[in-house]
Subunit: 265 residues, 2 copies
Amino acid sequence: MRNYTAFVATNTIPNSQMKTMTPPPWKVGELAGRTGMSVRALHHYDEIGLLTPTLRTPSGHRLYQQSDVERLQQVQSLRLMGIPLDEVRRLLDGAGLSPREVIALHIAKLHEHIALQNRLAERLQGLAEHLDTVESASIDDLCQIIQVTTAMEKYFTTEQLEVLRDRRSSITEEHMHEVRDSWNEIIPKVRNAMSANVDPASPEILAIAKRWKALVEEFTGGDPKIAMAVKTMYEHEGPSLQQHLGEVPTQEMFVYMGKAFAAMK
Amino acid sequence: MRNYTAFVATNTIPNSQMKTMTPPPWKVGELAGRTGMSVRALHHYDEIGLLTPTLRTPSGHRLYQQSDVERLQQVQSLRLMGIPLDEVRRLLDGAGLSPREVIALHIAKLHEHIALQNRLAERLQGLAEHLDTVESASIDDLCQIIQVTTAMEKYFTTEQLEVLRDRRSSITEEHMHEVRDSWNEIIPKVRNAMSANVDPASPEILAIAKRWKALVEEFTGGDPKIAMAVKTMYEHEGPSLQQHLGEVPTQEMFVYMGKAFAAMK
DNA sequence: CCTTGCACCTCACGTAACGTGAGGAATTAC
DNA sequence: GTAATTCCTCACGTTACGTGAGGTGCAAGG
């Protein structure tokens, strides 16, 4: 190992004084090895002006002094806290915000980010559970489920969704098919009756109204808020839901059946 | 608005049949507007081969058919779940892993990521609390605190750290200074005694041992595990901690004081 | 027919923090 | 003296687009 005193100091110094001098500067590889960073990272810090070694050999090799090492340790500390290099530089150069503010800002950002990730994780978890109850796992099915669940997230509160999820997990797939078939059977009948101007209070409509009510009751668990949310969702998302869920009642049908319900009492 | 049937179909079709034909394809802007995506995103999807419109006008304008729109919806669904475009393409093209596996993998990744973020948030929170108890908030202080706390994370369990944090928050800053001053007073004495080969059982060392024990007791709250962890940490991180905490006992001192403790009984 | 204005096209750079070579000079080791 | 490291400087790749720049297509008004 050489020492680089020759071009650090301009005059010659006897060996007896060498020991009290500043320690020899480090080359990148050495600094990298001792600090656990990569050489490329140090190059990068130099490039962006975050950590420029105070010395270079005449041939261009970087030499890091004690002060540089200290700065690097500061950089490492702040990076450990997830602070971007840009802000690390601003902090160390004394420009911009105070440490307190930077930390507070970062905490806020982090919490926001974590909340997003958590919501995503919940969605994925629900999706996974759904995939495990259905044996057909085609991409189309997958996308349909995603579409429907994301649409539902817009109209239901978190607790309502949990209620629905709990109930769904306690229901057999066979039964879910039955329910869908029932809707697919009922809705065309209602549509026909409406276009034929059948009186909502007529006996055949009242019979249908009974089945309708039972189906709604079963899905909503009797919660009128969930029923309202479902109605709102159908009104807004009808066309796109139709592709995925099969037949879906329109707003006019709700009105029509409302009359039937009134006549039932 | 034109229709692009001219180059979609090769033969002329009477108007009466036009209505039963496939709907007119959409241009990028229209598709973007209806799906809430940006035009650039659609261009990007085209570039990477994720969604290539089946048609183009002779002048090069993109035309999206029904099938393209469906594919886009699938892409949107999967992206909503945070799946990278690369895997979305593999999924939709039927190559690679099954939906189940992809979802499971992503859940695992997400949880890992969330755990990391949470640990980071905890660190930042602790840092912020610390910053609020100390009024001097220089960058150097900040980095020192980070260094010390990250070093501590390596040697203490989570519960131990919480205990320490709780206790620290109930202690005044003034008192912390007193403690530090006490250490700074005691340690040189011990060092001197050791180099002078003073008997650990001598009365002056026993007096120091008492103070030493009290200080350790106070910091560790009497928990021998915490005491052990502190000792291990000092042994491993001594030199770097010394810069930040002031005087720190060496392993030899622990041994020496151990003899004094034995003589105290 | 010509212009105006809007939607569209294709580059191509920028983002964060480096990883990963490529090709060549300098240093160190034997 | 030569071989093996270590160092240097480009420069592209990573994610999912944003943001112009500069040029064409196309429907409508004068």
